[in-house]
Amino acid sequence: MVERYVAAKTVEEALEALSGGDATVVAGGTDVMPQSQAGRLKLGRTLVNIRRVAALSGLALTGDEINIGPLTTVADLNEHDLIRQHLPVLADAADKFASPQIRNMGTIGGNVCNASPAGDLLVPLLLLNAEVELRSSNGRRRMKLQDFFAGPGKSHKKPGELLTAILAPLPKAGFTARFEKFGTRPALDISTVSVGIAGVMAYGGLQEVRVAFGAVAPTPMRGPATEHALEGKKLDDAAIEAAAQAAMQEVKPISDVRATDWYRRELVHNLVRKVLQDVARG
């Protein structure tokens, strides 16, 4: 039962409201509203609307990292020049996300904090080695996004903490990244499987390879075995097949109403192969 509503204007106001405990943060509401209406999410006693906290919006290049305000909407990600120029894989994922209305409402901070294994911005953020900044009334900390997720819908963010920034280092020259989301529609599909592959192109192959998967494990995951299979290898048919095999073996999908685990593994294999063939073609 909601007993207090706070429309915070500053981070401090929001943190104050959170410090009382049993509070629910609302950004775009596109997860909170349907989940609470369906009874899957129990709203806390305090509802903290952070939409009006100016300090949490905006995108900026500071030094060698891009600082993405958590209130940045999916539509902004898709259209903002900084993202298009430096992090095109994130813009691409934003284009494959939900519907225009939800892209107008939903935020990157919400996508991260909702911690769904199918969150479509999370795979590209993993490829980009992104970090998150968390603040509470006790201070602030930074952690790698990779370490942030704890399970479906669960993260290591503490109840009194607010996500205040998402930070992505500027990629090196030659960095390339691809995001592939399986589905029959251009965007309005909860991911059944998504695959991301990134690295620096050199000598016909990828170096500093990063691989990430969505919707095939309790959290969005990096794919170390696949990365290892690819690192420094020339992208010929054999290397591609080896990577695709490694990928289908390291994911841990479940069966649900959207797909069986068997099919998810097959998709991982085939999508990894497809993306790599694409990368190899240049």
């Binding site: 029959t184 529609r185 109403v257 959207r258 797909a259 068997w262 998709l267 999508l271």
Partner: protein, 765 residues
């Protein structure tokens, strides 16, 4: 004097009359209505699929402030509804499927009603569940409905010729089992009703989205034990029908009982989740089909054995064999046909009628086997179809008479426009190439009733037509508008007769106190039946007007015509008198008369006997659709690229409306084939939301090339036939044939979702 040339509205692109209000958000659907003092009604549904109800305790719910009534089976008369009268609105003894209604509340607000439902305690004793229709027929299977101890809800058997003889002369025989899945209507407007009962007068007003107001009225009077004269049904604009509102369902009498109990209007509207769980589905089916042909491509026989999962109760779904048999017996010339169907009770949900009424299921089986047989004898499958296709004048084994029949034109038009024959062989030749994406083209055709279907004692429709002093027409028709555009087409037909512009007509069609009887919106009948009825009324008016005008003009009525709102000389169009002036002179003369006419049209079709033989519809519609697909063998995704459709519509009346019907039907058929799928596990629906029950969206729509074949039906209004259901019917069959053409894999089980297709391609189980 002015001259008005002869002009016609027929074949034009005429926008829907109610569209401007709809784009302004002014149209008030039942969901938008609020009567003074209205309460919120809500239903408690079971969470079991088969269980005896041991105890229901509503006392805590009754005590909740803001709750005005809580009803269970004990509070209402036990009058079951539905096709087999096996469905009590509130279940008291046991529950048989996940839809079951066990209690209902009326409360001040949605929030209170929801809270009250949570306070109702129900104790069950679980019974063994039955989820497989095959098992339901095994001896010793649990009994679902006590009145039918063998679980057989309905049987349809039909035969013509001698299939043994047919098989003996066959060179090729093919046999398959097809499985057709559960889908549902997904009208964008969820189900809803408002019941308003006044105890002192005994008047009951029901605001309902029914497609069959007059049948509904009768059924309500039986269920409620009320004088039908006290029951009035008002139909607010409807957010989609597609057959879903053809039967009475428990929520409607429940709303009435709540209104009676509270003496307040009660509005009961579903949530989307409830709509998925508790509104009817398309009838699933297992179809075993054996067909044969000779080497020269002549069809020899067909044996059909169909098992329908009837679910826990019986609605119209169980009667689809009536329509299916027409496709098996009469789409092509088949000299021998034997047909058995059974609908058996299980603990799954029950199916209602849904656009196409069994014909999607039948066509899926028939048209795939046509391709198989053609391939087996090495004949081009278009030629094979043309060889066996019905032609005008044919009387089929089932006794249907094809007075007008554009089937062969449909076949050749769709084939030519799509480049079918060349693409078919090119794709087949490309199958073995290494590319992951394979192209395929597939064809299917259909036959469907196009002039009503005589099932009820009358298949007619009444019209009342009046002209006011300004020559404005009020057309009062029994035929409901369910979004398909019937108002517009009926107005158009009347204007065509009376030489008036579309703006001269207002249609009244939504109140049983006012409108004359009509059997209802189904069987693609409204344009045909209500159209003929309206034309008849308009002709009577015209006769009266011209008789009067002939006196004024000193010409015979035959020498006169009505054009552009005037009486004119027929031969040269010279204006004799403006129509309003003539009408006023009639009204304000000594005779003091108004022009008001009535008409009832009954189509010249016949009732079929127990043998299901006879000419059940006044005419029949035909169509051929060609689908082109791309199959991604890496994922199993089937992308529908293009649909080339040719429809025998008799005659094009409103081109815009007709295209809209065909395009909407094509996309609905696309969804049936490729994405829509109700996933049930032990009788429970796992995906009651659009998130995982996927309707087609704008970017998925294929290119559509639509041609109309005008066979000019002799009985049809201006030569037209009904086509509302036709466009959805061929799609799954044509897509299945296209997937085969692309990959060499024959998909006999629907739906063709990526995983199902991928599995089939892999040969995995």
């Amino acid at each position: 004097m002015a001259v008005i040339a002869k002009d016609s509205l027929i074949g034009r692109r005429i926008p829907k009359m109610d569209a401007p209000e709809k784009t302004a958000g002014k149209t008030r659907y039942v969901q938008d209505m609020k009567l003074p003092g209205q309460l919120v009604g809500m239903i408690l549904r079971t969470d079991r699929v088969h269980a005896r109800i041991k105890r229901i305790d509503t006392s805590r719910a009754q005590a909740l402030p803001g709750v005005h009534a809580v009803l269970t089976a004990a509070d209402i008369p036990q009058k079951p509804i539905g096709v087999n009268k096996d469905n009590p609105p509130l279940k008291g003894d046991k529950v048989r499927c996940i839809r079951d209604e066990i209690a209902a509340v009326a409360a001040e607000s949605e929030e209170i009603a929801k809270a009250a439902l949570k306070l109702i305690e129900v104790e069950y004793e679980d019974l063994p569940g039955l989820f497989d229709p095959t098992q339901a027929m095994q001896p010793g299977a649990p009994v679902i409905q006590e009145a039918k101890p063998n679980n057989i809800a309905m049987v349809f058997d039909y035969a013509h010729g001698d299939v043994g003889a047919g098989e003996a002369e066959s060179d090729v025989v093919v046999e398959d089992e097809f499985y057709l899945h559960y889908v549902t209507h997904c009208c964008m407007g969820v189900s809803g009703v408002i019941a308003d009962f006044e105890p002192t007068s005994g008047n009951l007003t029901i605001y309902s989205n029914t497609q069959v107001p007059f049948l509904h009225k009768r059924e309500f009077s039986e269920v409620l034990g009320m004088d039908p004269g006290r029951i009035r049904i008002i139909q607010p604009p409807i957010g989609g029908g597609f057959g879903s509102k053809l039967d009475i369902y428990p929520f409607e009498p429940i709303a009435v009982y709540l209104a009676k109990a509270t003496r307040r209007p009660v509005k009961l509207v579903f949530s989307r989740e409830e709509e998925f769980i508790a509104s009817p589905t398309r009838q699933p089916a297992i179809v075993k089909l054996r067909s044969g042909c000779k080497k020269d491509g002549t069809l020899t026989f067909r044996t059909v054995d169909i098992l329908l999962d009837n679910g826990g109760y019986t609605s119209w779904g169980a009667t689809i064999p009536f329509v299916m048999m027409q496709t098996f017996s009469s789409l092509y010339r088949v000299p021998h046909c034997l047909y058995h169907t059974k609908a058996v009770y299980t603990n799954n949900p029950y199916a209602g009628s849904f656009r196409g009424y069994g014909n999607l299921q039948a066509t899926f089986a028939v048209e795939q086997q046509i391709d198989k047989m053609a391939e087996a004898i090495g004949m081009d499958n278009l030629a094979f179809r043309l060889k066996n296709a019905q032609a005008p004048g044919e009387v089929t084994g089932q006794g249907m008479v094809f007075k007008s029949c554009g089937f062969k034109e449909c076949l050749t038009t769709a084939a030519e426009r799509s480049g079918y024959v060349q693409k078919f062989s090119a794709n087949a030749a490309n199958r073995s190439k290494p590319s992951a994406r394979k192209r395929g083209i597939g064809m299917a055709s259909m036959l469907h009733v196009g002039g009503g279907a005589k099932i009820y004692p009358s298949d007619g429709c009444g019209t009342i037509l009046k002209l006011d002093d300004f020559a404005h027409v009020t057309l009062i028709t029994g035929a409901s508008e369910i979004g398909q555009g019937s108002e517009t087409v009926l107005s158009q037909l009347v204007c065509e007769e009376l030489g008036l512009p579309m703006s001269a007509v207002t249609v009244v069609n939504n109140d049983t106190e006012i409108t004359p009887w009509d059997v209802g919106v189904h069987a693609s009948r409204t344009t045909f039946i209500a159209g003929n009825s309206a034309i008849g009324a308009a002709r009577k008016a015209k006769e009266k007007i011209l008789a009067l005008a002939s006196k004024v003009a000193n010409l015979t009525p035959e020498q006169l015509d009505m054009r552009g709102g005037c009486i004119v000389r027929a031969e040269d169009g010279e204006v004799v008198m403006p129509l309003p002036k003539l009408l006023r002179s009639l009204h304000f003369s000594d005779k003091a008369e108004l022009v008001m006419t009535t008409n009832y049209y009954e189509p010249p079709s016949v009732h079929q006997g127990k043998d299901f033989k006879g000419d059940v519809s006044a005419t029949y519609a035909w169509a051929t659709q060609v689908c082109e697909v791309e199959v991604d063998t890496d994922t199993g995704i089937v992308k529908l690229l293009k649909v080339t459709a040719a429809h025998d519509v008799g005659r094009v009346l409103n081109r815009l409306g007709l295209e809209g019907q065909i395009e909407g039907g094509i996309v609905m058929g696309q969804g049936y084939a490729l994405s829509e799928d109700m996933v049930f596990k032990q009788g429970k629906l796992l995906n009651p939301a659009f998130r995982d029950y996927k309707l087609m969206t704008a970017p998925e729509v294929p290119e559509m090339d639509i041609s109309f074949i005008e066979s000019m039906d002799g009985e049809g209004p201006q030569g037209a036939k009904g086509v509302g259901e036709a466009p959805a019917i061929c799609m799954a069959a044509a897509i299945a044939n296209a997937i085969y053409n692309a990959t060499g894999v024959r998909m006999t089980n629907l739906p063709f979702t990526p995983e199902n297709v991928y599995r089939a391609l892999k040969g995995a189980s």
